[in-house]
Amino acid sequence: MKRDAHADVGASVEGDSSHLAEIRRRASLVRRETIRLIESAGSGHYTSVFSAAEILAALYSGVLRLSDDPNWPRRDRLVLSKGHVAVGVYPLLADRGYLAQELLDTYSQLGNPLGDHPDMRYVPGIDFSSGSLGHGLSVGVGMAQAARMRGYDTRVWVLLGDQELNEGQIWEAAQVASHFGLGNLVAIVDRNQMGLDGLTEDVMAVEPINERFEAFGWRVVEVAGHDPAALDETFTAVPPPASAQPTCIVAHTVKGHGVAYMEHSRTWHLGYLAPVDAAATLKELDEDG
């Protein structure tokens, strides 16, 4: 159902296969550009972006209700609570036409608006500045409540890291979201199994995620987080914004997905690929299509 004629909502596709191909193209764009941009910066969060590549690609392929105007008041909001994923989002914003391609080339350089963590003041399409983990769900609660008061049928999507669920403020926000009945709020947990220091369940357990959110009054669904069709189906099936229960989507992913030597790797959470290795890695991505 089209929620607003102004928006390019609802996977306007000729067929499912071309739509899914579009998601795959964007996921590949996220990984390839992340390697290129981090190469220019000298360090960055490769694997945290790679686990979320299909999630972001699916969101920006017709799930988020957006328009050509990045400041359109009724647009869906995406809060990057795991702000270190931003380097993978900038290429999608450029892909949408919100950012000039040339700007990407100067990523992280002195005075550039594009940093490791996103700045809403200077980057069109970034709905909130983030970087300190644990804040994003509270931002989403405020946005969702405000959208209701404005009478907008806007949805607010919040991308959370899994280790981030250790932060107490997440649960402050979770209890408020269900208490206020914010069915227009969707949290997506990038369940890539890892924090910076190792496996989430070794560092500080976040399981059982489903039961925790359910106990806080949320509706919880799980999805295979690298499957474009499953993501698209799950995202488009969230209840209407006027509904009274927030949704948590637990996306099962692999940290570093798409690059064999980075998968499940603790050490590649933050790193740098020198040109020779970057070229080899891009080649691997090419071969995988």
Binding site: P73, F128, S129, S138, V141, G142, A146, Q169, V176
Partner: protein, 346 residues
């Protein structure tokens, strides 16, 4: 069937008070009522609190605008960040809780979620300083000005009474970026009622002229300084009194001019002597290149968590009274050592 209402016993002693009586006592805790009036004509105003709506009288707002009032429970950090999210939709949220919690517990939310994106969220940081008396250090806010002054893009306003609180709230609705209103406990003596001065945000307010000494104060220190200036005048000392209601941005030029005129500057503040108004004055003199000003300061000593005690006794102990200000002024004029008093725990 058991009643779900709580029935308090009728107090026999007139000194007894309950929460409703407290609301009547707290003459200066006007923010909730004023915001309710302001919100009649401005649909952007919303109010959030964290299970303190009676203490801060935001219940006055709730009664008039229940759809724009949000009690988030005891979740202060969430409250600040939620307000940030609402502000991105064009709302102007006023978030109210004890100053100690909103400044110290929520310092990162204030910096990263409000000041950094430049969002127009207003903090009603009430019961600031040591006004919660024997509730103790957990409930004292004696470092908040130091924290907030260091945040780029933050405005910090410290009205000294109900009249100036009303003026401050009414004149800043459309200010860019966040504002931290540092408020008392609602029992501050009136200073501005009946006076011709209007609060001009960002400017020191000269409430009294005097050539021998400049006293800079804010909050409860203003009334104490004015009373002290009257006494000093009887002793033949002319003391100017400036209300530093806007701590950030600080009126550096006004301070430098006033300090250069008298050459003696006494700062009175309900805050640790580090980081607050005295520091702002010293910064201004340094940046302004003003030499030869002799300074003294009254406040909570450097290495002290304030003593336990009723507020009035604490104020007397730390010299934040007319007597204390007079004594410090005489010391400054006579060139006595200027160390702030150390704690005496009996």
């Amino acid at each position: 069937m058991a009643s779900t209402h709580f029935h308090a016993p009728i107090p026999a002693d007139p000194a007894s008070w309950d929460m409703a009586a407290y609301e009547r006592l707290a003459q200066s805790a006007v923010a909730g009522e004023v915001l309710a009036e302001m919100a009649d004509d401005d649909e952007r105003l919303v109010v959030l609190t964290a299970d303190l709506k009676y203490s801060n009288r935001t219940a006055d707002f709730e009664r008039r605008h229940p759809d724009r009032f949000f009690n988030v429970g005891i979740a202060e950090q969430h409250m600040v960040t939620m307000a940030a999210g609402m502000a991105t939709f064009g709302y102007i949220p006023y978030v109210a809780t004890f100053a100690s919690f909103i400044s110290l517990l929520c310092a990162e939310q204030l910096r990263t979620d409000l000041a950094y994106p430049g969002l127009p969220v207003r903090m009603l940081a009430h019961h600031a300083g040591i006004s919660l008396g024997f509730y103790g250090t957990s409930h004292h806010a004696t470092e908040d000005l130091g924290l907030l002054r260091a945040m780029a893009g933050m405005t910090v306003i410290c009205p000294c009474d109900a009249t100036s609180t009303v003026q401050a709230l009414r004149t800043t609705v459309d200010y860019d970026g966040p504002i931290y209103f540092r408020l008392g406990r609602g029992r501050e003596p009136s200073v501005y009622e009946g006076r011709p001065e209007r609060l001009r945000i960002g400017e020191l307010a000269e409430l009294r002229a005097g050539a021998d000494l400049t006293i800079v104060a804010n909050g409860i220190g203003v009334a104490a300084a004015l009373k002290a200036a009257e006494r000093l005048e009887r002793e033949g000392v002319g003391a100017a009194v400036l209300d530093a209601h806007t701590v950030r941005p600080f009126d550096a030029e006004g301070l430098c001019n006033a300090a250069a005129r008298s050459g003696r500057l006494l700062v009175v503040e309900e805050h640790n002597v580090i980081g607050g108004v005295a520091s702002a004055c010293a910064d201004a003199l340094m940046d302004g290149g003003v030499d030869g000003v002799r300074m003294a300061r009254l406040g909570i000593p450097v290495d002290e968590h304030a003593l336990i005690g009723p507020p009035s006794q604490l104020y007397a102990h730390y010299g934040l009274t007319a007597e204390g200000v007079c004594e410090a002024a005489r010391g400054l004029l006579e060139g006595r050592p200027r160390a702030a008093p150390a704690a005496k725990r009996s």
